[in-house]
């Protein structure tokens, strides 16, 4: 699941968490984290940014991540981790994070 954004865009990244059958997972008190790195296989903490997710609609597994739009254009790598109610961590998405150069400067 590639993520592509224009530099400077600040709209939230919104995901829905689904199970193997494609059905929404009803969220309770799970936590989420989006991490973006310049390296595909980093050995240290992500060097671009990390942001915690917010459960926007528990019934439909909807989670939002607020992104500030300051990341310079380039190709990056990301993953999203889900920490369940038993404090177990699952990576539910991992792919490239592409920031395309925009035109407007303000």
């Amino acid at each position: 699941m590639k993520i592509e954004r224009k530099r400077g865009d600040t709209y939230d990244i919104i995901i829905s968490v689904v199970d193997g059958n494609g059905d929404y997972i009803v969220l309770t008190s799970e936590t989420f984290q989006l991490s973006v790195s310049s390296e595909e296989c980093p050995t240290a903490a992500p060097d671009i940014f990390t942001v915690a997710g917010t459960i926007a609609d528990a019934a439909t597994g909807k989670v939002t991540f607020a992104v500030d739009g300051t990341t310079v254009a380039g190709t990056y790598y990301y993953d999203i981790e889900l920490t369940d109610t038993a404090s177990k961590i699952r990576t539910i998405a991992k792919d490239t994070y592409l920031v395309v150069q925009d035109i407007t400067k303000s």
Partner: protein, 296 residues
């Protein structure tokens, strides 16, 4: 032959009173005293006591096969040491209608097929080593009852139905044992109950269903064994005990209400998070709100 005496006390003879087969005594309203050592009420015997005040007592009083006692409204007292209520294929029957009764006895043996029906009223059933044997049934309708005894044993196939009312069941080493026929069952309808006992043992297949009401279940070393089920519907409950053990496959289902579960060393075994919930979990981008612009 003894007859009826409707107008006063009828002291029966003691050891010489031989009331043989098919003999009948009918006592109408009044006050009577039947006493005797080794008083024998033999086969086919029937004793009808109408409204009044009676006292039946005796050591080694034997109520044998086919015997029936019907007690109508009044005040009665049945006491005896080693009082034996024996099995009959039809089932020995004691029917106590509204009134006030007192059934007491040491080593009172309520054998197979025996039935006691207690209708509305105030009753006290007590005994040390009171044994309620196979197929025994005790049905208590609305009223106020007290069942107590040391080593009260409720055996195989026993059934206890308690309707609306106020009850107290207590006993040391009260044993509620297993039966393959659906398991032991206690059904308590709406009301106020107190179940207490030290070393109260609720064994395999046992089931307690508590409908709406106020309950208190307490016990030291209360053991709720494998596959035991406790279903508590809406109401107010208090379950407490020291070293209360809820063993494997034990289930507590608590619906809306107010509950207090307390205990020292109360073991609630891991049931786990619903790990299956996350099988195959993955994220999909939500593109509903943010579509790219297209030139029309």
């Amino acid at each position: 032959m003894l007859g009826s005496s409707p107008l006063g006390a009828l002291p029966l003879g003691s050891a010489e009173a031989d009331v043989g087969g098919a003999y009948s005594i009918t006592l109408e309203s009044g006050a009577y005293t039947l006493t005797g050592s080794d008083l024998t009420l033999s086969q086919g015997y029937k004793l009808d006591l109408e409204s009044g005040s009676y006292s039946l007592s005796g050591s080694d009083m034997s109520l044998s096969q086919g015997h029936k006692i019907d007690l109508e409204s009044g005040a009665y007292s049945l006491t005896g040491s080693d009082m034996s209520l024996v099995y009959t294929p039809v089932g020995l029957s004691i029917v106590l209608e509204s009134g006030s009764y007192n059934l007491t006895g040491s080593d009172m043996d309520l054998s197979q097929g025996y039935q006691i029906d207690l209708e509305s009223g105030g009753y006290v059933v007590s005994g040390s080593d009171m044994s309620l044997s196979q197929g025994y049934q005790l049905a208590l309708e609305s009223g106020s009852y007290s069942l107590s005894g040391s080593d009260m044993s409720l055996n195989h196939g026993h059934k206890l139905d308690l309707e609306d009312g106020s009850y107290a069941l207590s006993g040391s080493d009260m044993s509620l044992t297993y039966t393959p026929v659906g398991g032991y069952s206690i059904a308590l309808d709406g009301g106020v109950y107190a179940l207490t006992g030290s070393d109260m043992l609720l064994t395999k297949g046992s089931k307690i269903v508590l409908d709406t009401g106020d309950y208190s279940l307490v016990g030291s070393d209360m053991s709720l064994a494998k596959s035991k089920k406790l279903t508590l519907e809406s109401g107010a409950y208090d379950l407490s005990g020291s070293d209360m053990t809820l063993a494997q496959s034990f289930s507590v289902a608590l619906e809306n209400g107010s509950y207090t579960l307390t205990g020292s060393n109360m073991a609630l075994i891991y049931s786990g998070v619903d790990v299956l919930k996350y099988v195959g979990a993955h994220a999909v981008l939500d593109t509903t709100d943010y579509k790219e612009a297209k030139i029309l």
